[in-house]
Amino acid sequence: MSRPTDDDVPGVVSARTGQRWIPVMGLEVHCQLKTKTKLFSHAPYRFGAEPNTRTTPVCTGQPGALPVLNEAAVLLAVRAALALDATVATWSKFDRKNYFYCDLPKGFQITQFDQPYCSGGGVALPSGRIVRLTRIHLEEDAGKAIHDRGPDTLVDLNRAGVPLIEIVSEADITSAQEAFDYLTRLKETLQFAGASDCDMEKGSLRCDVNISVHRPGAKWGTKVELKNLNSFRNVMAAADFEILRQIEAYESGDSALFPVQETRTFDAGSGKTRSMRSKEDAHDYRYFPEPDLPPLHLSAELIDLQRRSLPESAPARRARYVGALGLSEYDAGVLTASPALAQWFEETADLAGSPKDAANWISNEVLRALSDPQIESKSLEDLRITPASLAELIGFVRAGKLNVPAGREVLRAMLTSGRHAAELIAELGLEQVSDEGQLEEWCQEALVGKDKVIADVLAGKDKAVGALVGPVMKASKGKANPQVVTEILLRLIRDGAPS
């Protein structure tokens, strides 16, 4: 595993000069771990809570308060490492990173500097190439400083102390698209490991990008850091812009314009990066071992236990859905969009006894319902159906009690009312009509005057009968089984002329 050589990288071709430039990118991603409480204090965390309502003396940096490590955060961090194929260290320690800012209550951040809890690992891109990870470490988040609301900067410490893992990639990324893919894959891995929600909108995933460009074979260029990127698309757009900006700067030939080592922010509106006003002097964080915390020991037993209880990864599930459950790759992809959805599907499939039916009903009907404004559910948890109730509906359809269109109608009623299939079928009178005699009667009526259809069918064009299925369905008020109706029509035509 290594970064591809310059020859193997498509790179970016300058429109101005036709020269090919090689982008070099590394990503630093901060993910909030999915714990109930913070890393060093028992305060619960919830995005969007009223300011300063989720704090303790520890997370507001009151003098005399001390950190105590959250075990769940450690276990999730270990899971994240295992899901990313990193090597977990038996011994690691915490350090203090000292600097002054209004959202940093202690005047230092507790992080891991030279002995992080794991190292190595990688993320596979769609091409199969692996972007290597340098390291992952545990650290606490800072609070939030709001600059655009009035004459003062406002500080909310709810987020101060939330557990983060910082995932640092090697400079193996060679394009903006790869950065996007890396983030997508990383998010999927961490979500399915149960370690993080990785929701950029809620701030549970943040990404900084380091970018430089160079001519093939030349020394790597000056590295520029991009911050404040708040969506994967913005990461890609910012990278695209920055690569071109750096190319243009180098191609100008004027060394005064060459990229300098700095931090830039991205303005989504204009699509441009701009320099953040430079700080007084370079950072000297004066890292030293955190005296308030003993060293962290992660035993082989603990690591093994986490490895064994690691939830199945997305790629493994997709392979299983295709291989063992007979789904298409496309459907497998749809159903692994999130761990919650995959879980939902698997439960439904299990209860209904038919993965394919479960897949169809979920992909076509349930997912569509989630984006239907009339059904006020925004997520699977909100839905008023459950895998069990959907499985029950599927069962009725498979047993012939309900036809598919009626099934859809029942499902809709289930989603809006929260009631179960059995009572709704009866109430709506949608029970499928299977009485052959009745069906024949309706078919006979439909065949009246349809000589052309009869002639076509007798001539071998079975499909022509399709035109008559609709009227029969109508006559049955939708309760006939369309396949059975088709069969009866064909039989009636072939057995003899209508009376």
């Binding site: 305060a43 075990e71 955060a73 931090t263 370079a282």
Partner: protein, 120 residues
Amino acid sequence: MSAAHGHPSPTAPTGATPPAAHGTPDRAVVARTAALARLALSDAELDAVAPQFARILGSFEALRGLDTSGVEPMTRPIELAMIMRQDVPGDCLDPQAALAPAPKQVNGFFAVPKTLEAEG
């Protein structure tokens, strides 16, 4: 470009200038240290503290001369195992109590002079 972006090895300097003449920090170094520590010393204070600083460090020469090759650093005097806490939410500070000691608060937030920067 170093492989580990932004994470230099512990001994690599991260921007400060190398040590001045062995062990004797001059006024400029003390001024830079004061800035790092966010202590706005007046010229008079700097004039007073810089020689004291040098004298104090000078008196610590005994420390630097000791041979410590092969000796492990000792961060805390008693070896302890990490204790960990269950992930169970506990009582939070009443926001009024959290904000009560603040020099300035606005609408439930701590208020400070406006800054356009990220971390300083």
